[in-house]
Amino acid sequence: MTSPVRWTRPQSLRHALQVMAAEPSVVPIAGGTDLMVLLALGDLRAGHLLDLWPLGELRGIDAAPDQTVIGALTTYRELATHPAVVERHPALVQAARLSGAWAIQNRGTLGGNLANASPAADSPPALLAYGARLELVSVRGSRWVDYADFHLGYKRTARAGDELIARIALAQPPGPATHFYRKVGTRKAQAISKVCLAGLAPLSDGRLGDVRLALGAVAPTVVLARQTAAYLNGRRVPEIDRVAARAILEAEIAPIDDLRSSAWYRRRVAGNLFEQFLDAIQHR
């Protein structure tokens, strides 16, 4: 027989962090929608699982006036139906609604999704667009990091071996702004993203400022397109040289050919979605 997997059901977040500290090889499990697929494929390498599901401390959404703080164990469904999130962060709501189907959305969690660090995940572009910050906790304490600095490479993150993602904080977006999210898969539901683009474009006096634009499935990690945003900032939309802007965007991504699509398609569609984003700003 294969050696049995150890399973720890922590009594509290503190207890969970002690386990993480004592045993760096322990694998935390949230809703299981990624890890259980690995198990099915025979690819789950874990001798000891730490079950986060019972940790009430990691649940809940707190909508303060200046920011929305989302517990890491919040499911996609909870996210997609929470009134404050719906009002403030529609791009994230769309991402959550397109993450798998209903039965997956009831189990998959935002924190689990970020820890899994797939470059094709649906929520990360929206989180980047909203300038999310993550709280990482361990027995050593708590630290907040910019989500934009979290993904270090393909499936590599800034989370230390003893840390858990505890909360995700999104600042209240500025007043008049375009919130954009679009995911392209082969079919309309239950698709893995081929290209995904999320953007937040505040407009003041007809000029763009603090644009944040992010893409998924076009590089080893989700990408915050800083150069493109820099190019856009301060301009009026009709003045934007779309050819030049697309060229900047295309230089910020590194799409590949794989089972699901081609580099050519991803590059071209990324540019097209970018233009759709510009159109959305213009027609807001």
Binding site: V5, W7, I29, T33, V37, L39, A101, I104, A189
Partner: protein, 156 residues
């Protein structure tokens, strides 16, 4: 092995089980509730959909370790409870032709039941959205849409 207390179709059970056991296998092999089907084993087809604490989940992706204190409802439970809404749903599936080979039907019944719980008169778009995780290869879905709509009609 861990010991869990959970409710299966309204019945409280204490079980000793390996924590990574899939809820699907537990239901089919341990509880002999074979109405829940396995179509893909990776959460894509929806044939293994059951309710956990009232919400549809794919039981192939839920480890038993996470179910202490949970209430699990399968197609057998929905049928046995004699929920009139469900019976209407089943009747409607029969009348509209919403089941053919039947292998996806238990999952469809569970998801549609949850939809009708959440929305008493779902629109076509809501039905199509809710069922998007339940792949049916026979019916082309059309008769299922019709059945869910019929089941939601007020009782005359």
């Amino acid at each position: 092995m861990i010991v869990l207390d959970l409710t299966i179709n309204g019945r409280l059970v204490r079980v000793q089980v390996a924590p990574l056991t899939r809820l699907l296998d537990f239901l089919r092999e341990h509880q002999k509730l074979t109405g829940t089907k396995e179509g893909c084993g990776e959460g894509e087809c929806g044939a293994c959909t059951v309710l956990v604490d009232g919400l549809p989940v794919v039981s192939c992706l839920v480890p038993m370790g996470q179910l202490d204190g949970a209430a699990v409802t399968t197609v057998e439970g929905l049928t046995a409870v004699g929920d009139p809404g469900l019976q209407r749903l089943q009747e409607a599936l029969l009348d509209a032709g919403g089941t053919q080979c039947g292998i996806c039907t238990p999952g469809i019944v569970v998801t549609a039941h949850a939809l009708l719980d959440a929305r008493s008169r779902p629109t076509l778009e809501e039905i199509r959205d809710a069922l998007a995780g339940n792949i049916c290869r026979c019916t082309g879905y059309t008769a299922i849409y019709e059945a869910v709509r019929r089941a939601a009609e007020p009782v005359p």
